[in-house]
């Protein structure tokens, strides 16, 4: 059976999660590989969440927040952006391809964009193949 990537997504409650819902109510079809976790604000996404997801066997992690300037909490998405750059450096240090982690802005009215984003990311990760972290960690554990 072909490789089906597992992608964990953190969506902010106000823009991105609503956008994802809109994609749903508008019956737009997208790849099934994504698993959405709702947070109040992309600023809530703690780097440890990302690492946790990867460690638990996610092949990719997607973070979505409001467009710059639209954050329901004014600047949470900027915080997230800064952290994102650090996280990128960090995972690369750990030998994880940077393409496995993405931060994108999705507004409440961008259901279509969200659907396209998911498809695109899924393909991106599919190309990379399964993530090695989990097995490696398990080996180390033993």
């Amino acid at each position: 059976m072909s490789f089906e990537p597992k992608i964990v997504a953190f969506l902010c409650n106000w823009c991105s999660y609503t956008g994802a819902d809109l994609a749903g109510t508008s019956r737009m079809k997208y790849a099934h590989n994504i698993r959405i976790i709702r947070v109040m604000c992309s600023g809530r996404v703690d780097p440890t969440f990302v690492l946790k997801a990867l460690r638990e066997g996610a092949d990719g992690v997607l973070i979505c927040g409001c467009h710059p300037g639209d954050c329901h909490y004014h600047e949470g998405n900027y915080r997230c952006l800064r952290r994102y750059h650090l996280m990128q450096k960090y995972i690369q240090q750990m030998g994880i391809e940077s393409d496995r982690l993405r931060l994108e802005w999705v507004s409440a009215s961008e259901g279509k964009q969200f659907a396209e984003l998911v498809d695109e990311m899924t393909e991106q990760v599919r190309k990379l193949g399964p993530s090695e972290i989990k097995p490696v960690m398990e080996k180390l554990a033993v």
Partner: protein, 578 residues
Amino acid sequence: MAEQEQRIGVYICWCGSNIAKMVDVEGVSEQIGKLPNVVIAKNYKYMCSDPGQDLVVKDIKEHNLNRVVVAACSPRMHEMTFRKALQNAGLNPYLFEMANIREQVSWVHEDKDFATKKAKSLIAAAVRRVSFHEELDKRTVHIDPAVLVMGGGISGISAALEIADAGKQVYLVERSNRLGGRVADLDVTFPYGHSARQLLEPMIKRVEQHPQITVFTECKVEEVFGYLGNFECKVIGKDGKETGIKFGNIVVATGLKNFDPSGMDNYGYGKLPDVVTSVEFEKMLRQGKIETKEGKIPQNVALIHCVGSRNKDIHEYCSRTCCMTALKYANQVTAALPETNVYDCYVDMRAFGKGCEELYANTSRKNVMFLMFDKEDLPVIKKTAAGDTCNMVVEMNEVLSGEAIEVPADMVVLMVGAEAHEDAKEVAHAVGVSMCGNDFFIEKHPKLDPVATTTDGVYIVGSCQGPKDIPDSIAQAGAAASRILATIAQVEVEVEVTTAVVNEDLCCGCQTCIKVCPYSAVTYDEEKKVSTVNEVLCKGCGTCGSTCPTGAIRSRHFTDQQIMSQIEGLMAMEMEVA
């Protein structure tokens, strides 16, 4: 939590066939039933219906469940419904988690196996998460009966009167130097030609004389602090004079502004002297002088619809009022200048309001020629050669005849569309409402909650939410007023409790959280050398929580533990089925 025995009930909704047709609900409930701590896993046609909710309540009592998971539509839709149900069953509403298997599964996927698989892992995740949920007690806040109304247009005025007439204090803040907004510029209104001044005057008079209304003209509202029932802000006058006010609810009625057609070359606005906007033309009508710049009576007047509206490059949306305004002009001109020919160039005649189609029918029986153009093939206004009977021609491809024609014109009126104010962003930030693509404010729900916003206690009415005519704006103002009056009548209302809280033992006093908090809800306690969160100001974004290096800050209902376990749940089920 953990030591108490976990008894979780899981309910999977078919949502008719919305979910059931894409997700094998039976299979899912069976498999989920096997998960640790899951006491029962059921599926039902409509969980949101009365019987659906009764089912939950009944089970909680019978199987003394202490955690509930419902897998159905988006939590944005029904989380509240089921929290209520838990409450009715005497269970803390926060011991509940929803898995969104409709908007994010059955409606967006086409492969039943994958959809089912995804549904399973989402539910499994919810099950893990819910076992770490903790009881949270609703806090109630006192509602300050005073109300801030931003904007002194027809919507703002009616909202203010509506509330003040119920005996509540209203602060009405208007940025310009006079009340009345854009209606004050109108001559008469469609479809019956009632005098705008006559309808506005008594209202303004009442506002000014109303004991319960304080009017601030030429004033701006600085950033609003606080939360439902207890807002405060500074009102800053032109002269820099500051007034601090406190209030419990906010009505945003900042209206809209007219589109400026200077940017559109085909209409030559600003270059051709007798090409005027509807705003300018309204003034002419009001002063009873419909004249060209040379002071001549125009023999031919052309009205062009959809200027800046229904246009992919400018604003895609329809400005809703221009069509009827144009018909109004046609009537006024034919009445005032019996000899003058009127040409009405439109795209679709949107006469949808009460009495409007009738107005259209009556107008078309006058000396008015209706010409239709395609919204992707706009007319072009050109100067005529000297000696021609008219000063300008409007060149267009007429749709109803299929002819390439030119319309003689001594005066062209551009029916300019509406757009959001340039300071809409500021306002949005000041009061914390979100905006849609075209900078109009977003209502809480486009159908069932047209005036509320995602921020409790903040309401949007009138044209700042999207173009509107007078009666629709006034209706919305009334709607907001009723919400506010209802809240005030409750005196104390419950508020969300998913705020952040500092564990002082873990806090190292680095004060990073203070820097990141957008509401300055976190302060530093000099004695204890720790941060403390003002739960009243905190809006629970959780940014501090994820910044805190020691994990001293917990954002309630979104704790690290809860989210981590949710991730585990997700992946565990993934691995199992993979």
